[in-house]
């Protein structure tokens, strides 16, 4: 079994998980122009952008003789939960004999879930599996912690220097074997970053932007035109509504996502029912960011995303009621870098200008 998986966010986490379980893992390629073009060519026209990117990644992986793909499932109503089934059809139609293992919630189909887990577990004992999961979760938490720091410091320092540290850190985390390694590397890089702490100005002079939206485009820098770096470039700090840790807490470990539930509750004012994806919790996050004193919200969504179209429809009202500017950006294969940059720059200028006038 030669395994691989879709590329999203800190891929090192999934790789580590499968590797520690003793599988032969192929690292998926990072989405680039070639992969996106390939995906667009073989996907339905109105499929959402993440679907197309993943199609491209899978096709690229076929060149590396991968025979099994592992992906997450879901029970709707967002389309993402059905990606696996459709990708299977597309790949089979193109003549690839490949298996796609979809990890669905055990609530949907207990037997299938058990079988999938048994296969992924391989020869490891349950005790080992427990240890691996703990290590990987620790790793995710640490990665997110460092990244949050990076997203603040990059606003006040040379982009290259901070990015270098961040990249080195990720590189080094590839080598970890146990939780002790994680701790050691974490301290090393947090210390490195701490040297820049004095560059953070006084509270009144800090500007913060919250990024909300569909999880794939929020997490995956290579397809969202490095929006965080763009915002940082203008001296604004960034925080996202989604980190991988949150997703794990919400979906895998029970009873750990209490705070996230509370945030989602705030969103009920605008979207009453659960409409899938993160639409409702995004509205909650927007309100939460405002309460935390953020200066603006950037709302990212892939073209044609079903749940986020609803949240975009109500976002204007939210912006008015909570007095927080919201910029919605649609991401797809035709989104140009300069377009995003111009819109972000204008948005941030507007926030600064508004603030300046209020002070006067």
């Amino acid at each position: 079994m030669r395994l691989s998986f879709p590329y999203m966010g800190p891929t090192i986490v999934y790789k580590k998980l499968l590797e520690l379980l003793g599988h032969d893992v192929v690292m998926p390629p990072k989405p680039n122009k070639e992969i996106i073009d390939l995906g667009v060519k073989y996907s339905p026209e109105f499929a959402c952008f993440p679907f197309k990117v993943i199609t491209g990644i899978y096709l690229k992986l076929m060149e590396k003789w991968v025979d099994t793909l592992v992906t997450s499932g879901g029970h709707g109503p967002c389309r993402a939960g059905y990606f696996g089934e459709v990708h299977k059809k597309i790949l089979q139609d193109l003549g690839y004999d490949v298996e796609i293992i979809v990890i669905d919630s055990p609530h949907d189909d207990y037997k299938y879930f058990y079988e999938v887990i048994k296969r992924l577990k391989g020869d490891s004992s349950w005790l080992q599996v427990g240890r691996v999961i703990k290590t990987v979760y620790q790793l995710t938490k640490v990665l997110d912690e460092i990244e949050k720091k990076v997203e603040i410091l990059r606003a006040y320092n040379d982009k290259g220097t901070i990015n270098r540290i961040w990249m080195d850190a990720q590189e080094e985390f590839y080598q970890i074997k146990n939780t002790a390694d994680i701790k050691r590397i974490k301290n090393k890089y947090l210390n490195k970053l701490a040297k820049f702490d004095k560059s953070i100005p006084a509270e009144a002079e800090r500007y913060r932007i919250g990024i909300i939206g569909e999880i794939y485009v929020v997490l995956e820098q290579s397809i969202n035109n490095q929006i965080e770096e763009k915002v940082n470039r203008f001296g604004f700090e960034v925080e996202r509504s989604q980190y991988l840790t949150d997703w794990i807490r919400e979906n895998i470990f029970p009873f750990t996502g209490k705070d996230l539930e509370e945030i989602e509750k705030k969103g009920e004012e605008f979207i009453e029912a659960d409409i899938g994806g993160h639409a409702r919790s995004n509205m909650g996050h927007a309100i939460d960011f405002k309460e935390k004193g953020f200066d603006g919200i950037i709302h990212l969504k892939p073209f044609g995303c079903l749940p986020e179209l609803v949240s975009q429809s109500v976002a204007d009202d939210l912006s008015e009621k909570y007095e927080i500017p919201v910029l919605s950006i649609t991401i797809d294969e035709q989104t140009a870098d300069a377009n995003v940059l111009t819109r972000v720059e204008a948005f941030l200028d507007m926030i600064k200008e508004k603030d300046y006038r209020e002070v006067m």
């Binding site: 339905p44 979207i271 409409i275 179209l309």
Partner: protein, 348 residues
């Protein structure tokens, strides 16, 4: 005292449930007001007041809501369809529709009644699905129960006729309850079969009759403005049209049971089951898949059907409609498709 006016937008699930609602409001002594047929002006308003990349059916819906608001209705009836089958829900945009209307059309005069619909079957006549309605209009429980029962029976008769092969279009232009009742009784006692089942339909130039399965949601198939009246155009060409609403529930169940994981969306599943049934059916010559711009579930279903059609060696065409579709474009494409199928049939 004059009757309370309650507006029903002629869009989305209206086409599937309108006899139920018209009968229900009549029983409750309310005056149902139905928005006008879709027109250029109405659609333009909808387009203007919604996001540009949202799907056409939602734009149409927004247009109808605005149209109702101009008719001085007291309430707009916009139930939040959540689920009518265990484990299966509706498209996110349909579930979130009341939120979208509330927060993106702030100048709406009429109050919106948006009961959440959660039912185990297509029959939505449970009391729990109409609590907000009962509360806002202070309707006593027993009266509500009785009205729901009447409406449900009436809707069942309509649904049965659809199973027998009548098209939603045969009814959907009627707004008056009495006329509708008469028509339903007439069809129930009719000796002549509906067009889709009849053997002896006329074709221009006495050519062979072609059987087409037209796969698409009720609101796309039946909105004559939006789809350029495709149903009648096909009929004129001597085509027997089969739609998802004619496929028996058991057939759809059987097809869905073959999937490891059915899709998440109610009507998409219905379309899937019906389409698979028609793809296998020898009598059907070709499948036209009618989809609207920006429809998310359709992008998934379309891909599956396209691959399956290849497998079953059945002629398959996707026809996408949007707010700018030109009539000649639709005619050219269906004419070419039908001509080819007819040629194939006559050569055999």
């Amino acid at each position: 005292m004059s009757k309370m006016k309650i507006g029903i937008p002629r869009a989305l699930l209206y086409y599937y449930y309108f006899p139920f609602w018209i009968k229900l409001f009549d029983e409750l002594n309310l005056e149902p007001v139905i928005s006008d047929n879709t027109s250029r002006e109405l659609l333009d308003k909808g387009v203007k007041n919604s996001l540009s990349e949202i799907c056409v059916p939602i734009k149409v819906m927004i247009g109808h809501v605005l149209n109702l608001d101009q008719k001085d209705v007291d309430y707009i009836f916009l139930p939040r369809f959540h689920s009518i089958r265990k484990g299966v829900v509706f498209c996110p945009k349909i579930i979130g529709l009341p939120d979208m209307v509330r927060h993106s059309l702030p100048r709406l005069q009429a109050e919106i009644i948006s009961d959440q619909i959660d039912s185990k079957s297509d029959n939505i006549a449970q009391l729990s699905n109409h609590q907000q309605l009962a509360e806002i209009l202070s309707i006593p429980k027993h009266k509500m129960k009785k009205a729901l029962k009447e409406a449900s029976n009436f809707w069942q008769r309509y649904r049965n006729l659809l199973y027998q092969g009548y098209l939603i279009n045969d009814f959907s232009r009627i707004e008056d309850l009495e006329v509708l009742e008469k028509l339903i009784s007439k069809f129930e006692n009719e000796k002549k079969l509906p067009q889709s089942q009849r053997k002896d339909i006329e074709t221009p130039g006495n050519e062979k009759i072609v059987d087409i399965a037209l796969i698409g949601y009720g609101y796309n198939l039946s909105d004559q403005y939006l789809n350029m009246d495709i149903l009648n155009k096909l009929k004129e060409m001597g085509v027997r049209v089969h739609t998802f609403s004619m496929a028996a529930a058991e057939i759809i169940e059987k097809e869905l049971a073959k999937l490891r994981k059915p899709m998440f969306w109610e009507f998409t599943n219905k379309l899937y089951g019906a389409a698979e049934h028609y793809l296998k059916n020898e009598q059907v010559d070709g499948v036209i898949y009618l989809t609207a711009f920006g429809c998310g579930p359709d992008s998934i279903l379309g891909q599956i059907l396209e691959v399956d059609a290849k497998e079953y060696d059945k002629a398959f065409m996707t026809l996408r409609i949007d707010e700018q579709t030109g009539e000649s474009h639709i005619i050219t494409r269906i004419e070419a498709f039908i001509d080819l199928l007819r040629l194939k049939k006559e050569n055999n």
